[in-house]
């Protein structure tokens, strides 16, 4: 059986694309590099939008990348159920593309923050979190300038009542995010946006933990069983 193929999109200014590809590989899938200017998703089984500063985060984080030709392919595919994980800048692009609600504003402290962050996984029904136990606490790096999740009150209430908050910050809220929200999912559970970086917690040599691997093994398992 050939391994699942997980695409990793590179936008101009993407930074964690190689790291995301490594995490996909460690989880047992084949990473497929995808180029923002192409029109072809190359038949991948799932897609990761990696972290970074696409277009320098100029204007607004994710605002320009959202117009990439490949996004025109990705948005309908995601609506049709393709699993998509947006990490950090990827999360910002997903919000700008309206695949996920809300927006990410500059950190409340007005500084870039890089720290090993404790999180609680609150939704284990998504395509990317099935390998975690509900309420499981993990430590994963966070590193961003614009990580403050914001939405209007109705959207927020809807996210909470439908259990679409995927992960929350514990101990410290590093960026002023509403409801300590670190990640959310769409209604169908196939699109997930995360501010923390699970791809930097997949090897004990280079990460604070290997707690992030579950996001990648979740999708691999799902694709294999599909």
């Amino acid at each position: 059986m050939s391994p699942a193929r997980v695409g990793v999109i590179t936008f101009p200014g993407s930074l964690d694309d190689r790291d995301a590809a490594r995490a996909v590989r460690i989880a047992g899938a084949e990473p497929v590099p995808l180029w923002h200017a192409d029109h072809d998703l190359q038949g991948v089984d799932a897609v990761v939008l990696p972290g970074g500063f696409s277009y320098g985060d100029y204007l607004r984080a994710g605002a320009i990348a959202r117009f990439a030709p490949l996004m025109a392919e990705l948005v309908p595919a995601a609506h049709a159920g393709l699993p998509v994980l947006g990490i950090c800048n990827g999360f910002q692009v997903l919000c700008e593309s309206h695949l996920l609600p809300g927006a990410l504003l500059p950190n409340a402290g007005l500084h870039f923050v890089c720290r090993d962050q404790r999180l609680r996984i609150d939704n284990v029904a998504t395509a990317w979190t099935s390998e975690y136990a509900k309420g499981q606490e993990v430590v994963v790096p966070i590193k961003n300038m614009d990580g403050c999740f914001t939405a209007d009150a109705a959207t927020l209430a809807e996210l909470e009542s439908s259990g679409r908050v995927v992960a929350r910050y514990l101990d410290v809220n590093p960026n002023g995010s509403l409801g300590d929200i670190a990640g959310i999912t769409n209604e169908a559970g196939n699109v997930v946006g995360l501010m923390p970086h699970p791809e930097h917690a997949v090897e004990s040599l280079t990460g604070p933990t290997t707690d992030g691997l579950g996001f990648f093994t979740s999708i691999v398992k799902r694709l294999v069983n599909a």
Binding site: P12, G13, L15, D16, R18, D19, R22, A37, G51, G52, F53, Y55, G56, D57, Y58, H111, F112, V113, C114, R115, P141, K143, M145, H197, E199, H200, E203, L205, T206, G207
Partner: protein, 756 residues
């Protein structure tokens, strides 16, 4: 259009006065230019010579001294590219090579801290790209005025944001550095940025333009009116009718453009599309064209009208001197130009062919069809003036050295010792730098094995074999002020030791020499002594200097900064999985102190923090002991003897224990064998504290015995406090105990208080 000061005009108007003084040129330097050309220079030529012969580009005051790095270079075959290129390249084994270099951006960082620091990172990263390497990490060594001085917050906040803002956007992990506060840097902060790049041996690129007929391509950002104050003088002196807008004093960086440049260059290299490449830094197009031509076939023609401009009003002199960021110049064979431009377009990078390589031995530039530059490029790039400036020890030195800290009251009971441990741990120079380092991405690229607050940054280069490197960047201006020869050696010692305690074999050195005005004989003497000390020590330790940077004129009025050589040492890990961290995280491991402790307090943190005193002599340099300690550490780490290791430097054993306990979350119980004050706070060199895994105590003892490294058993790791006792004839007498929580608060609250 105004008249152009072409070569033919220059020939017709030999007596025309020229503003060479305003451009910082001496009378005799100007005369030499006239001799070289056999006529007066055009204003464009004057622009080129004035920047290329500036202190910054020509190293005219430092050259005679820097030669020692080559003359005294240790015998080695690890240097694939030595000094003189954009950065040295070191063989780290398995076909891999590493290039690294540190550079200053001090003055711009005082004027506009954010942009000054940001463009400092940008500049050093381009040096590394131009060697053919992929940049893989950055480091930064920072010095500010006192933490509580009125202007420090502005400079500190801006500089840290700038380093982070630029480096984070490039996707380069920041893996270490320094933050030092001292009144000597109050109006003259030091911002030294280091970049590390990795490449295969066969991928090395050089800054040379060989092959007549090959095309010269300028790519990256447009050329704008950045950093051309001098050129405006020239332009307005020559073209009075032109109303020259105010030119910016500040260069602004575009990290997004630089990130694209990195990826674009790497793709160009992968397809082998360049025969020579050079980044544009200080002196911009002047520097890139003269250096490329001088190192190549010898000639080049350039059409300055082909340079893409951000500001259409720029005069040719201004184009030549512009220091706009994020630009590179490549030499490409004609057949490959279309593919080259295609790759630039893919990365959305503007690129234009601006000239061609020739074998005429002349650099010729045209502007609207007229020849405005016609000169032998070597004369601008390499044959600048060289000065042996007068030097003599600073008048105050003897008194300074005589004022030994021996006169200061020392903590004399357990309570005073305890308070001193906490006081030092909370002092701005020794306090946690988390406020700074949490603004830097240390994870990106996924190869960071150790980073702040560890002794060195450690990176994995090869996923399969575990090949890796370690880097540390250190300086100590107080030591160098007291004795510059020793001061430079002590900085090298510390960086060398920091690399070795992680288990890496120290290999090579880069340096950034931050000094006052070379026209001050006292400063010049300090500089010469520091260079001599560094060259001698590099020879003794067998680690060659691969490159570096000199920053002069760091002073306020006539008061220079403390002389501050900042030294970077690169080490190699054959298998990075065997690296050792400073964290006390394994209960029950045995703590040993390696090395000999003498009562050395000259220039110490203790004297600085408790009394604000600086005097006496710095700790004794002992390179033989340093090399012995390193051999113990490298072998011991590889063999898996150590659960933790931390070097001793500023603040001595006290500070090392505090840091290792807090890092690992475990306390320790130590018994000091002699004078507790000296044991805790002396800054003797060539020492480290190690936690030995159970069962390996004998192996370590044998290893140390063989190397000639003294060993003192201190105690054990464990518990949740730092417990210190004194060995007496009656046994161990408890001195004091500090809960980790109390230590943590002392250590971690200082910087946020001043900076937040």
């Amino acid at each position: 259009m105004s008249q152009v000061d072409s070569v033919s005009v220059a020939l017709q108007t030999p007596g025309q006065p020229q503003p060479y003084k305003e451009l910082g040129m001496q009378d005799d330097e100007y005369q030499r230019v006239r001799e070289i050309l056999g006529r007066r220079p055009t204003s464009a030529e004057l622009a080129i010579y004035s920047v290329m012969w500036s202190e910054h580009c020509s190293y005219k005051s430092s050259k005679v001294h820097l030669r020692q790095f080559a003359d005294k270079a240790p015998q080695t075959d690890i240097l694939l590219v030595g000094m003189g290129e954009n950065a040295g390249v070191v063989d780290v084994g398995q076909g891999w090579a590493v290039t690294f270099k540190v550079e200053s951006h001090n003055h711009p960082s005082y004027v506009e801290p954010y942009q000054g620091a940001a463009t400092g990172v940008g500049g050093i990263v381009r040096d590394i790209i131009s060697m053919g390497a992929r940049p893989v990490a950055v480091m930064d060594s920072l010095r500010f005025g006192p933490a509580d001085a009125p202007d420090t917050r502005r400079v500190l906040d801006g500089v840290v944001r700038g380093i982070g803002g630029y480096g984070n956007s490039l996707g380069l992990p920041n893996i270490g550095g320094e933050v030092v506060f001292d009144k000597s840097y109050a109006a003259n902060p030091l911002v030294n940025a280091l970049c590390i790049g990795v490449l295969r041996h066969e991928d090395i690129k050089l800054a040379a333009a060989p092959g007549p007929g090959n095309k010269v391509i300028l790519f990256g950002a447009g050329t704008g009116p950045d950093g051309i104050g001098g050129a405006s003088v020239l332009a307005s002196a020559t073209f009075e009718e032109e109303s020259h807008k105010k030119r910016p004093a500040v260069q602004v960086g575009d990290p997004f453009m630089e990130k694209l440049l990195i990826e674009c260059c790497l793709e160009l290299y992968r397809e082998d599309l360049v025969v020579g490449i050079q980044d544009l830094g200080a002196a911009g197009v002047s520097c890139a064209t003269t250096e490329l031509a001088a190192a190549g076939t010898g000639g080049m023609i350039v059409d300055l009208n082909a340079v893409p401009l951000r500001d259409a009003t720029l005069r040719p002199e201004e184009i030549l001197m512009s220091e706009s960021q994020e630009r590179m110049m490549a030499v490409v064979t004609p057949a490959l130009v279309p593919r080259f431009l295609e790759i630039c377009a893919k990365w959305e990078i503007p690129a234009s062919v601006i000239g061609e390589v020739t074998d005429t031995g002349r650099l010729i530039m045209t502007w609207h069809g007229e020849v405005i530059v016609d000169l032998p490029p070597r004369t601008a790039a390499h044959d600048g003036p060289v000065y042996s400036r007068p030097m003599s020890p600073p008048p105050e030195l003897a008194a300074l050295q005589a004022d030994s800290p021996g006169r200061l009251h020392r903590p004399s009971n357990a309570d005073e010792l305890r308070r001193t441990v906490l006081w030092l741990a909370a002092s701005p120079n020794l306090a946690s730098k988390e406020w700074v380092t949490s603004q830097y991405d240390r994870y990106v690229l996924g190869n960071t094995v150790l980073a702040m607050p560890e002794d060195s940054g450690v990176l994995r280069l090869d996923d399969e074999t575990g090949l890796g490197i370690a880097l540390s960047l250190d300086g100590n201006g107080r030591y160098a002020k007291l004795e510059p020869y020793a001061g430079a050696q002590l900085a090298l010692s510390e960086a060398y030791r920091n690399v070795a305690v992680t288990g890496a074999r120290p290999l090579a050195v880069t340096n950034c020499l931050n000094f006052g005005s070379p026209e001050d004989p006292g400063v010049m003497w300090e500089f010469a002594r520091a260079v001599e000390g560094l060259a001698d020590a590099c020879l003794a330790l067998g680690v060659p200097v691969t490159g570096g940077n000199v920053s002069f004129y760091n002073q306020t009025g006539s008061t220079p900064i403390n002389p501050t050589p900042v030294i970077g040492v690169l080490g190699v890990h054959d298998d990075v999985r065997r690296r050792v961290s400073m964290a006390f995280a394994a209960e029950g491991t045995t703590l040993l102190l390696l090395g000999e402790t003498r009562g050395e307090f000259g220039g110490s943190e203790w004297a600085h923090v408790v009394y604000g005193q600086l005097g006496g002599l710095p700790p004794m340099v002992d390179l033989r002991a340093e090399a012995a300690l390193a051999s113990v550490m490298v072998t011991g780490c590889y063999e898996g003897f150590f659960a933790a290791a931390h070097d001793l430097s500023d603040g001595g054993l006290s500070q090392a224990l505090v840091e290792s306990c807090l890092r690992g979350g475990l306390g320790c119980q130590v018994t000091l064998p002699g004078d507790p004050f000296a044991m805790l706070f002396s800054e003797s060199v060539a020492r480290a504290v190690v936690a030995v895994r159970p069962g390996f105590e004998g192996h370590v003892a044998a290893l140390c015995e063989q190397a000639g490294t003294p060993v003192t058993r201190l105690g054990m790791v464990g518990g949740d406090s730092l417990n210190v006792a004194l060995q007496t004839a009656e046994g161990a007498q408890p001195l004091f105990s500090i809960p980790l929580q109390e230590l943590r608060e002392a250590h971690e609250q200082t910087l946020p208080r001043y900076a937040g």
